[in-house]
């Protein structure tokens, strides 16, 4: 018993926390943390209020932009040729040489996928749990390097890009087949794209095709004839894509699920039932062997995969535990090898686990101000609130899991991947905050109305809100009332601007400041603050068509200055980290800012865990 006492304590504390009303794990609020009931969907529902990072922000899959990788950790990233014929015949085994030692161990991986996938259809899926499964079983024209996120060849063996950046010619591998042996040709891609874009498919990610000529028009139904869309079959091994404007990250889009090929025969024969194991045909490293809803998804290697030799795992079992406490218990019992999310309630215990890791993640936690209503229509009030909270102390004393306090919106770690100048916002300064509030007409907080702080029900959001409101009370003498509400109600209130100050989170779609900044353009669908600046809009617009990457970075940098230093419609709080635990024997799981980890690189270099 002695050796177990920390565990005992942890679980008891947990049990005690369960008693707190509104706490996610009592099960009454599966949605708790943004965790949208749309579990695992944008809102990272995966974990109830346990979901690490808490982000409702939407743990949704990210489209990488990766056109501009940063080098990585020395694992021979430079070995990847960038484009053109140099890619032909590229030897994958040089990327992560593993020796032979692993061969003596059973190659079975059991991991917690965090939620039951909404669907296994790559064109319809939206969330991270679905992403992990479909990435294992399908492959697009391109893939990505597990560390640097660079585009690497996949279905396309090599490609050519026209000088104007508008035409991409993809050359498919010869002899590609589907898992059932049917040949995979350019026509499969054309048909799949047509299906994914079609309004009747109603893909929530159809906008990923908007970069393609007439992609938007076809998917909203104005154009009925797919021949007018910029996706053409030249011959069975050549697929030509025409964009409507140059898109720096197009090769990242082609590694995104919505652009994956699916098997036409299977879909046309079985309808929505094509994703059942008995009907399932795919083209990725693994195939679906079993799907027991809310219990497990089992995948085994696809013998017809073109790079079969690279695939070392012989079996992957994805468990859908949304109760991260249960998942961690299973991990302790030796039943799992990897948890991509850990229970925040037991974070003190989990952080002592030798298998614990925390990697910077492409997400920002912040508060929105409603700048259309008093008192937040006054810049000085917004600044005063921002300056009077000690984010450092919040991260170190309350969150305690490696989050970095943020003074600006775009997460710091983006700079490891793209060319983007550093920006620092104002630091904690209660004296100046007091002065600003006095200037705004509320000396010592006198006469300042009580403020409503809106957040979706979650232990973590509540904790943060409590800490911040006590700082405001102390430093400014103002009262903040906490108003928590169910996820969908919270979304509706923020969308209709029926709030004063609201919690928010945002997970980037691709590794680029633009995915954070373009939401705050005037009347943007995700702006929801009332912020409007013509100068800002112009910068975002010109950045999107700027071919010079350094100049583009500078433009976005200027835009962020306007947002975070001049207008402050949002109050940055911290940058997310992705916390998990994995056995040391699990190799090939590489850190990257999108927290996307392809299974074909993973293998087991050690005997199965015994549990503790």
């Amino acid at each position: 018993m002695r050796t177990r006492s920390p565990l005992l304590a942890g679980t008891l504390v947990c049990a005690a926390l369960f008693l707190t009303p509104g706490c996610g794990d009592d099960g009454t609020t599966p949605a708790s943390d943004g965790a949208g009931p749309t579990a695992g969907q944008d809102d990272g529902s995966a974990g109830g209020d346990d979901s690490s990072g808490g982000d409702d922000g939407g743990e949704r899959v990210h489209v990488g932009d990766g056109g501009r990788p940063s080098g990585g950790d020395g694992t021979s990233t430079s070995a990847i040729p960038r484009e053109g014929e140099a890619l032909k015949g590229f030897d994958w085994s040089t990327l992560f040489p593993a020796g032979d030692g692993w061969k003596q161990f059973p190659q079975e991986l059991v991991f917690n996928n965090g939620a039951e996938p909404d669907t296994l259809d790559p064109h319809i899926m939206t969330g991270v749990p679905e992403h992990r499964i479909t990435m294992a079983m399908f492959e697009g024209l391109t893939g990505h390097h597990p560390r640097t996120l660079e585009a690497v060849p996949a279905v396309a063996e090599w490609w050519e890009i026209s000088d104007d950046g508008l035409t991409y010619t993809f050359h498919l591998r010869e002899g590609l087949t589907w898992s059932n042996g049917d040949p995979l040709t350019a026509e499969d891609l054309r048909w799949s794209w047509e299906r994914a874009m079609a309004p009747t498919t109603a893909s929530q990610y159809a906008y990923q095709f908007y970069a393609i000529k007439n992609g938007r028009e076809f998917s909203d139904g104005t154009i009925k004839d797919f021949a007018q869309v910029g996706a053409k079959v030249i011959d069975p091994l050549t697929f030509e894509v025409t964009l409507h404007s140059p898109t720096a990250y197009f090769l990242e889009l082609t590694s995104f699920e919505t652009l994956f090929p699916i098997h036409r025969g299977s879909f046309e024969k079985h309808g929505i039932q094509w994703t059942r194991p008995e009907n399932f045909v795919c083209n990725g490293p693994f195939v679906l062997s079993e799907w027991r809803p809310r219990d497990a998804i089992v995948m085994v290697p696809n013998e017809n995969y073109w790079n079969r030799n690279m695939v070392r795992l012989t079996k992957i079992v994805a468990k859908p535990f949304d109760d991260l406490n249960t998942a961690y218990n299973e991990y302790i019992a030796g039943k799992m090898d990897w948890l991509p999310d850990v229970p925040q309630k037991r974070i003190d215990e989990v952080m002592l686990d030798p298998d614990y890791y925390a990697w910077p993640w492409l997400g920002a936690y912040f508060y929105r101000f409603n700048t259309t209503k008093a008192p937040f229509d006054d810049l000085r009030v917004r600044q005063a609130l921002n300056l009077s909270i000690d984010k450092q102390s919040l991260c170190l004393d309350t969150l305690k899991s490696g989050e970095t306090p943020a003074t600006v919106y775009v997460p710091r770690a983006v700079r490891d991947y793209v060319d983007y100048p550093t920006l620092e916002g104002p630091a904690y300064d209660p004296a100046k905050a007091k002065q600003l509030l006095a200037d705004a007409g509320f000396p010592g907080g006198e006469g300042f109305p009580d403020i409503d702080l809106t957040f979706n029900t979650s232990e973590r959001h509540k904790q943060i809100a409590e800490v911040l409101s006590s700082m405001w009370r102390e430093n400014l003498g103002i009262n903040v009332k906490l108003r928590n509400m169910e996820w969908k109600v919270y979304l509706e209130q923020v969308r209709s601007m029926d709030y004063q100050m609201a919690r928010a989170g945002w997970i980037g779609d691709y590794v680029d400041p633009n995915t954070f900044l373009d939401m705050f353009v005037t009347d943007g669908g995700n702006n929801n603050t009332g912020f409007a600046s013509a100068e800002y809009d112009a910068l975002i617009k010109s950045a999107s068509s700027e071919p010079d990457l350094a100049k583009r970075g500078q433009m976005l940098h200027e835009a962020e200055k306007i947002l975070c230093l001049e207008h402050l419609p949002i109050m940055p709080i911290y940058d997310y980290v992705k916390q998990g635990v994995r056995r040391s024997r699990l190799q090939g799981l590489q850190e990257n800012i999108r927290a996307t980890h392809p299974f074909q690189w993973m293998y087991m270099d050690g005997p199965p865990a015994q549990g503790r």
């Binding site: 018993m1 005992l8 008891l12 049990a15 369960f18 008693l19 794990d25 009592d26 099960g27 009454t28 609020t29 599966p30 949605a31 943004g34 949208g36 009931p37 749309t38 579990a39 944008d42 809102d43 922000g57 939407g58 949704r60 909404d118 669907t119 259809d121 319809i124 309004p199 109603a202 893909s203 929530q204 159809a206 906008y207 938007r216 909203d220 139904g221 929505i272 994703t275 027991r292 809803p293 809310r294 219990d295 859908p320 535990f321 109760d323 406490n325 249960t326 218990n329 299973e330 302790i332 019992a333 039943k335 996820w487 969908k488 509706e492 969308r495 989170g505 945002w506 669908g525 995700n526």
Partner: protein, 367 residues
């Protein structure tokens, strides 16, 4: 009795219709929609989605369409689990909930009845006090506490049961049914030898019917006990689900027994020289159980609907969580589907309880 049953069965569809109607409109009044997320969808994609799932039609039209489909047994698509229909999801997940629920029912009855009877017979003894204190504890400590604590002790520390999961194999059932069947036949043959075989003058058909139902009850109970014993994943979830019910049953049983034990007919039974066991088993139990029986209807319903916490903690792929989560997800058809399912189950269970009353209490008559 027959007419009473018929009348109750005829009202079932009406009750369901009212439930579906109320749930349909209440749900549509809740803010948000099935596709709302942190990220606002472009309006044209929202439009395609609404068209695909039929949410673009006026509400009354949608209601009419839903009823039309539901009458034919089609409960519609799920907007959350897009590869499966509501019918499939219900079929996939009802099994585990029933298995765990029945397991919990058997556990709570055996623990609760035993504790209650002992408490009543040995009233105000140490045994009575201690079992009633435990019952008080079981009733007041919520499952999200007992669950993790039991996992900690039995799964992580002593490693007797798995941490979570659900596995139910029924392969021992044919043997058990066969064996119990043989026992049943042997029992009837012996009875016939003693009191008269079918066809003879002494034969009592009423007794045969009673024997048949007793056998059914015994077989069903044994099968569930067998399932629990042979599948280690089922025990902890069933136990956690059972505890509050066991406690309540114990208290009800004790109270019911105490009331009966002091009645005249029990004194009469004792006076005519019956042993204490015979008095309790043959005379007191039947009357003392009435409060428990009336509690069983709502209890079974609660076992089936209230498994959310247990299903989450033990990762049981059951239906209780679909019930809650579909409403939070605004997965309208899915939520209505669970309402229809639960509604039917509740109405039928209440009916069974009312009928059982008639058997246990001769004062109750249905006409």
């Amino acid at each position: 009795m027959g007419r009473y049953l018929l009348r109750r069965l005829v009202t079932l569809p009406i009750v369901l219709l009212v439930m579906v109607t109320v749930s349909f409109f209440i749900m549509r009044m809740a803010p948000g929609n099935p596709f709302s997320a942190e990220r606002t969808l472009p309006p044209e994609i929202q439009q395609s989605l609404d068209e695909k799932y039929g949410y673009d039609a006026p509400l009354l039209v949608q209601y009419g369409r839903y009823l039309g489909r539901a009458v034919q047994g089609d409960l519609g698509p799920s907007t959350k689990f897009k590869d499966r229909t509501v019918n499939e999801i219900l079929a996939d997940h009802i099994g585990p909930t029933i298995v765990i629920g029945l397991g919990a029912l058997i556990l709570s009855l055996s623990i609760g009845l035993m504790a209650g009877i002992i408490g009543a017979i040995r009233q105000n003894s140490m045994l009575d006090y201690s079992s009633m204190s435990v019952a008080m504890f079981g009733m007041s400590v919520p499952r999200f506490v007992t669950g993790p604590v039991l996992v900690l002790l039995f799964a992580l520390h002593w490693k007797v049961f798995p941490v979570s999961g659900y596995e139910a194999s029924f392969h021992t059932w044919p043997w058990a049914i066969g064996g119990l069947g043989v026992l049943f036949v042997a029992w009837r043959l012996r009875e016939w030898k003693r009191s008269g075989a079918p066809g003879s003058a002494n034969f009592d058909p009423g007794q045969e019917i009673a024997a048949f139902w007793i056998a059914m009850l015994v077989i069903a109970t044994s099968l569930i006990v067998l399932l629990l014993v042979t599948n280690e994943t089922l025990i902890l979830p069933s136990l956690v689900l059972a505890l509050p019910f066991a406690s309540r049953i114990a208290r009800l049983m004790r109270a019911g027994m105490l009331e009966v034990i002091h009645q005249d007919y029990i004194r009469t039974a004792r006076a005519k020289g019956l042993t204490e066991t015979a008095v309790i088993v043959r005379h007191a139990l039947k009357g003392g159980m009435l409060p428990v029986v009336s509690f069983l209807g709502p209890a079974i319903a609660a076992l089936l609907t209230g498994g959310l916490v247990v299903e989450k903690i033990f990762a049981v792929p059951g239906i209780a969580r679909e019930f809650i989560e579909s409403a939070l997800n605004r997965d309208y058809w899915m939520a209505l589907g669970t309402v229809v399912l639960y509604g039917t189950v509740l109405v039928v269970l209440n009916l069974i309880v009312d009928v059982a009353y008639g058997f246990l209490d001769p004062r109750i008559r249905y006409d």
